[in-house]
Amino acid sequence: MIRSMMRLSVWGVRSRRQEIISELFSLGVLHLDEGEGALRGDDGVLNGLRLLRGRVLGLVEALGWDRWETLKDSDVDQAVQLFSDLPPGEFVPEISKSLDKFSSRLSDLQEGLARDEDTLSKLRKSLDLLSRFSAFFQRWGDSARESYITLWWISPEKIPPFLAAVQNDLLSRGREDFGGIDHHFVPGREGPGILSLRVPQALAPGISAIAAREKALPWRLPECCDQEAPASSIPSLRGAVDDLDLRIRSVKKDLSENSEEWGPRLAALFLFLDEKTEQAAVEARSETSDNFFRLSGWIPRDFLSATEEALKAKFGKDILLKCRLPGKDEWKDVPTALKNRSVFAPFELFLKLLRPPSYTGFDPTTAVAVFFPFFSGIMVGDIGYGIIILLLSLALKRAKRPVLRDAGSILLIVSLWSILWGAVWGEFFGDIGHRLFHLRPLWIERSEGVLPVMIFTIALGAAHVVLGLLIGVWQGVKNRHAHVWMEKAGNLIILGSLFGFLFLLMSEFPRGLFSIPVSFLVIGLVLLVAGGGIGGIIEALGSIGNIISYVRIAAIGLSSAILALVASKFLDVFGLSILGVFLALMIHLLNFILAVAGSGLHSARLHYVEFFGKFYSDGGKNYTPFQRRSGSSWKKR
């Protein structure tokens, strides 16, 4: 059912505004008006809180901590207690100052790490390159000391002219005894590669000039080893790489420890600031004069007295509460809060896929709780499958997430109906119950009696659609919407007259009695056209289609029953062999999945389309009280 709501206005002295708003937040029952006052963009406290909240979230992300789901409300409570005595104007600068130090240390660590990683990458590339020249360097052994070995960036096509120029230079200096020059080229992935050149020491001064002429650029060793010759620098490079690697690991470990230690604390601080920002936003939006402020909103009637008592006890004469029932012109603004018995409450899940019903509308949760498992149970209709669903539901009911627990509660009722209908159809994993225990159907075997089951489901559909129309009529009368109740009543009368026709056709009553349903048909048509116009006639035809649509309960049930029989046939064909049992189990598994998914989906569809279509009026607003949000998904926004 939809809770009765009251309009509550809270008047308070301005000096205690923050306290009163904080208390309202803790009580968590007041749905504040969205347009309550205009939010002032120049509110310093609010802007300061928003800025700080953003900084804290930035730090949490910089730390690489993202286990928000592990955070508990008690962690946030600790932060609340720490700053509870201070107004935002005082704790915001304090927290900012602490964050500056932390942020500077973290930033130094991260920048140092980035620099080290960049250097390490360059050192590794240099080491890799020099390793490819190591055979060339070693080829000359001790005589390498008398040589001048250099490395050059050069395009492959420039190598022959470069080498020729060096050779000419060598000849012009009369060093024929040197035995010529030596070189080794390592091509790059694209374009230039690296050329290593060995020449006599005497040629060293002229090489750079020749290289410049031939457009070769010198390749230099990294800073750590740039004083060494390339041929002897490999061990030094290797040592530098190892040292840097060690340092990077140490910094990473330090960062990880920081993340473990400070991540949850900063996340809790973020949530605390988030709550404070929300409270400050409400403060900024409140209608405030020199001495007083006012806040208005909606509160469920059953929470009113407890809320009044709590506020009066804490603030005494500093607060004034005024409440009243919503006026007719306010109905569209009243949020919709649902209240159902604990056994029905999980079925509110179905309404979460739709916009909530309007405040004056009808909450169909109880009807869904009755019919959804019933229809699903008819479709599954197997004692064995029912027992498996029962076990599954018991496991789901132990889940941490409320939505899974709700799903478990729904499945539990579905499983009980499945077991009951399994007894009605005489099915236990198809015909295995009959084969092993001589299980007999209480009513009929689905695979044998298709027509009676179809007629039964159509009758069920008629009852369900008629119930929907009756709710529609009641809604129309209650809300004084004449066109609604006339259309729904017309629809009902037309359906009733059609049932009358069918009854008379199948019975031995005199033909003269046909005038009765004809009269009702005319009355129904008049009401239908008066309420819904020509569209109403289409709606009436749609209702007949809606009723026939319930045949799907029989159709899906039949397919499930036949698939279970097919599974047993595998045992007949292959005997009690591994292959036979395996194939039978696989078919049963497939059938079970199809039965659970199909029955749930089609049963939901019958409610959403066929049933809700007769009365459900959405357009309501969700009741979202001013309070701490629960769950984990909201924590990081």
Binding site: I548, L601, V609
Partner: protein, 72 residues
């Protein structure tokens, strides 16, 4: 021969609407997936729209059963 034709008629009564339903659901499903990705609150409406064409197969099934009962 007559029985075979009646059986074929029953099969077609289910098969043709099934193909039409599959086509319609494919179109609605792809559009619906895009809609839900952008506006998750439209999930309920999309399920309803996705389920609407199934009525064709259900009606086809009813017709097929009536044809088979004729056969019997």
């Amino acid at each position: 021969m007559e029985k075979a034709l009646i059986a074929l008629a029953a099969a077609l009564a289910v098969a043709i609407p099934a193909m039409a339903t599959a086509y319609a659901q494919a179109k609605i499903g792809s559009a619906g997936a895009g809609t839900v990705a952008e506006k998750p609150e439209t999930g309920g409406t999309i399920i309803i729209l996705e389920a609407l064409p199934e009525t064709m197969v259900i009606l086809g099934f009813v017709v097929a059963i009536m044809i088979i009962l004729q056969l019997a």
